[in-house]
Symmetry: C2
Subunit: 398 residues, 2 copies
C-alpha cells in the first residue's frame, strides 16, 4: 500500500483560474492519473484537497536546523555586528538552550514539513567548539521525521576551516558520520585564504565522493573571483551538477557584463545557486539565472536563532518574501518564485519534481483562488504528500 | 460609561521581558491607571488581555482604501509597466469590481482595525474618470466604522492635476465634500510641472485650511528639488506640522550630505514622512529621520488591488515587513519599527499616543513573549481598543 493515495478535489498548477477541481491518484509514490471523480482502488487512502491549488511540494534548499529556537521562549538578539559577532554570539549561547539540538531541529523540521516542504537541505555547524554535536542533532531530526521528508545534511564549517586548527579533520569525521555534503564559508572574506579553503573543501568532497555547498557572502569582484575558483575545481574534479553556491551575493555586486559572465560560468559548470531572499542585500538576478539554465532554489536560512529573530518554518511565507523583495506583481513572476521554491530547490538537490503523470508524488495543496492568491494568503496547507503518503494536513504534521 | 474599560493581564511595552502582567484601567477614553488586580469600578466593562504585550494602537498612515479588492475573488495582475500603466489598469477595471467602493473600503478598513489600527489616513482617488465616487466610498467606509477608528481622507489626484483638465476643480469639490487633506502626485515626474502642480495643491490647502499629503516617488536630485519646493511653500504659508511627503524616495537616492540636508529641511519645516516598506526601492534612513525629529509613519499602501497583489490589511504584518526590509535584527531596532507603526503614524496625523497615565486609550494587545517576538509571530490581536472601548478581539472587529 506504500505510496498509494487518492487526493480529491484539487486544481493543479498551472491550470488554476476557473478550472474545476480534479482528483489525483498516486500509485507507488508517483502521480498516476488526474481525472474527475476517480474511483479509489480498494484499500487506497483518500484525502480531501478541498478545491485548493495543487503544487509540487516545497524544497527548503538552505536551512540551518541546528541553530533554530523556534517554539522556545523568545530571546533578545545579543550579537555584535558582523559575521564574527554572530558566530561568537551563537558559540556563547547554544549550549544553554532550553532544548537539545536534536529537539530543536526536530521541531523546526516538523514545522517546515507542515508548511509543505518534503525536501530539505540543512547545514549543520562543524567546528572545534561543537565538534559533531550539531551534526548529530540534525541527523536525529532527520531520523525523527523519516518517511515525512528527504533531508540532506551539509557538514558546514561555520567558523571557517583555516582559522581554527582541527576543523578540516572534523569535517572529514562529519562526512564519515553521515553528512551528505561538505560546506564552505567565505573562503576569502572570512577564512582569509580562498585557495587553501577551497582546496580543503574540494579535497574532502573528492575523498568521500560527496557534493559541495559553499556559503558565499563575499560580494563584488572578490566574490566573483571565488566563483571562478569554485568553477575551476568543478572542472578539474569532474563535479558538474554536484556543487552549490549559497547566497552568491557576487552576482548582484558586479556590473552587468561581469554578472552575465558569472551566470554563464555557473551554467557551464552546472553549479546550482540558492537564495534566502534577504531583506537588505540586493536580490539575485533570478530571471537571468533561470534563462541560463542555472538550478536555483530557495531556503529559509536560520530560523529564529542566535543569528536572527526572523523565520518561522513556513516555506510559503518565504516564497512570498522572495516575490515581495523582488517587487514582482505579475502573476507569472510570482509563480516563478513558486517554481524556484518547489521544483527549483528540488533540482538543486538532484530531484526532478513536477505535476504530470509519472512525477514523484511530492505534493502540497494550498488554499487560494490562484497560485498567486495562495502565495499572498499564505493560509495553512490543506495536505502535504511525500512519497505518495500524507505527511501533514491542516498545517500540522500527521 | 463612554470609554471606561478594564483590561486584565497585559505586559505594557517596554517593560515586557519577564515582567508579570498588570491590569490597565481606562476612564473617559484615556489610560487612567496601571496596577495588579485592579477592581473594576461598577459597570465598567472588563476584557482579558491574556498576558499579551500591550502597545499603542497602530496607525495606517498611508492607505488606499478606495482601490482594495481584499476579500473578493483574486484577479491576475493585468497592468503594463510603470505608473501610467498602473493608473490605466485601474481606470479600465475599477467600475466592474464585484462590490462597490464603499463595500470594498469598508471590508478592508475592518480588517485594518481588527489588526490593531485605530488611526488610518486613506487616500481617495479624485480624477475626471471617477469624480468624487471613490472619495464618497471611503467616506462611507469611515462612517460604517465610526466609533472604531479615526480616519482621515486625502483627496488624491492619482492621475495628476495638470494632465487632465478639471482635476483641480474636482479636488476643490472633494475638500468641500469632506476630504480632510489635499494630495499631490510626483509634481515633476508624473505631472510634468512641479511648480504649477504644487501651487494648485497648496492653493487649495490654503483656501480650505487643510493639510497636504504629497506622493513623491521621484528619486534623486529631481525628488530632492521637489522636497525643497514643498518646504518653500510650507514656509510661505505657515504650514509647519500640516504637510506630509509620502514615499519620499528622494531621501534614499542622493548622497549622504545631500540626504542630511534634506532631512534637516524636513525637520525645520516639520514636514512628516510616511513609508510603506516597499520591497525594491531603497529603504528610507529611518534612524536619521527620527534622530532629526521628523515625524515618520508606516502605511499599507494599496491592498490587493488593481495596482498590486500585496497587502492584507494587517498593520503588524507591515511592521514585520519594515523590520525585515531594513535588515533589523536587534530588538531595539525592531521596536523602533513598532514605534513608527504606532506612535509615529499617529504623530503624522497630529495625535500623541503613548502608554502612560493620561495617554489616549488607543491600544492593542498582541500575543508574544516580547515586542520583537510579537512582530515575528504576527498572531491575531487579542484586543483592540479605540477611545477606551473594545473595537476588535481575536482578530475580528466587534
Amino acid at each position: 500500500m506504500t505510496g498509494d493515495l487518492l487526493i480529491r478535489s484539487v486544481r493543479p498548477w498551472p491550470n488554476v483560474p476557473g478550472t474545476p477541481p480534479v482528483d489525483v491518484l498516486c500509485e507507488d509514490g508517483r502521480v498516476a492519473a488526474f481525472g474527475a471523480d476517480v474511483d479509489p482502488p480498494p484499500g487506497v487512502a483518500v484525502v480531501d484537497g478541498r478545491g485548493g491549488v495543487l503544487l509540487p511540494a516545497f524544497t527548503d534548499a538552505h536551512a540551518h536546523l541546528d541553530s533554530t529556537r523556534l517554539g522556545l521562549p523568545f530571546r533578545p538578539h545579543s550579537a555584535d555586528e558582523g559575521l564574527a559577532g554572530l558566530i561568537d554570539n551563537d558559540r556563547r549561547h547554544w549550549r544553554s538552550a532550553e532544548a537539545s539540538v536534536a529537539e530543536r531541529a526536530t521541531h523546526t523540521l516538523g514545522r517546515t514539513i507542515a508548511s509543505g516542504a518534503t525536501h530539505v537541505r540543512s547545514h549543520a555547524q562543524v567546528d572545534v567548539d561543537s565538534g559533531l554535536e550539531k551534526l548529530e542533532g540534525v541527523l536525529a531530526a532527520r531520523e525523527a521525521h523519516a518517511g515525512r521528508a528527504h533531508v540532506e545534511v551539509v557538514a558546514f564549517p561555520q567558523c571557517g576551516i583555516l582559522r581554527e586548527k582541527g576543523t578540516a579533520e572534523l569535517l572529514d569525521a562529519a562526512l564519515r558520520a553521515g553528512a551528505d555534503l561538505v560546506g564552505g564559508l567565505d573562503p576569502a572574506g572570512y577564512d582569509r585564504d580562498p585557495v587553501r579553503h577551497l582546496d580543503v573543501v574540494f579535497g574532502l568532497a573528492e575523498k568521500h565522493q560527496r557534493g559541495v555547498d559553499v556559503h558565499l557572502h563575499d560580494a563584488g569582484t572578490l566574490g566573483a573571483f571565488q566563483v571562478e575558483l569554485i568553477c575551476e575545481r568543478v572542472s578539474a574534479l569532474g563535479m558538474r551538477g554536484k556543487v552549490t553556491i549559497s547566497h552568491a551575493f557576487a552576482l548582484s555586486g558586479v556590473d552587468d557584463s561581469r554578472r552575465t559572465e558569472l551566470v554563464e560560468l555557473l551554467a557551464e559548470h552546472d553549479v546550482a545557486v540558492t537564495t534566502v531572499a534577504p531583506g537588505v542585500r540586493e536580490p539575485l538576478p533570478l530571471r537571468q539565472l533561470r534563462w541560463a539554465g542555472v538550478r536555483l532554489g530557495l531556503g529559509q536560512d536560520g530560523i529564529r536563532d542566535y543569528w536572527s529573530p526572523y523565520g518561522n518554518g513556513d516555506m510559503l511565507d518565504r516564497t512570498w518574501q522572495l516575490a515581495y523583495r523582488n517587487g514582482f506583481r505579475r502573476d507569472e513572476l510570482v509563480e516563478m518564485c513558486v517554481d524556484i521554491a518547489t521544483r527549483g530547490g528540488a533540482a538543486v538537490m538532484g530531484k526532478a519534481l513536477g505535476l504530470t503523470e509519472g512525477s514523484p508524488a511530492e505534493l502540497v495543496v494550498v488554499p487560494g483562488d490562484t497560485v498567486t492568491a495562495a502565495v499572498m494568503d499564505r493560509a495553512p496547507r490543506t495536505v502535504v504528500v511525500h512519497e505518495g503518503r500524507v505527511v501533514a494536513a491542516g498545517g500540522e504534521v500527521v
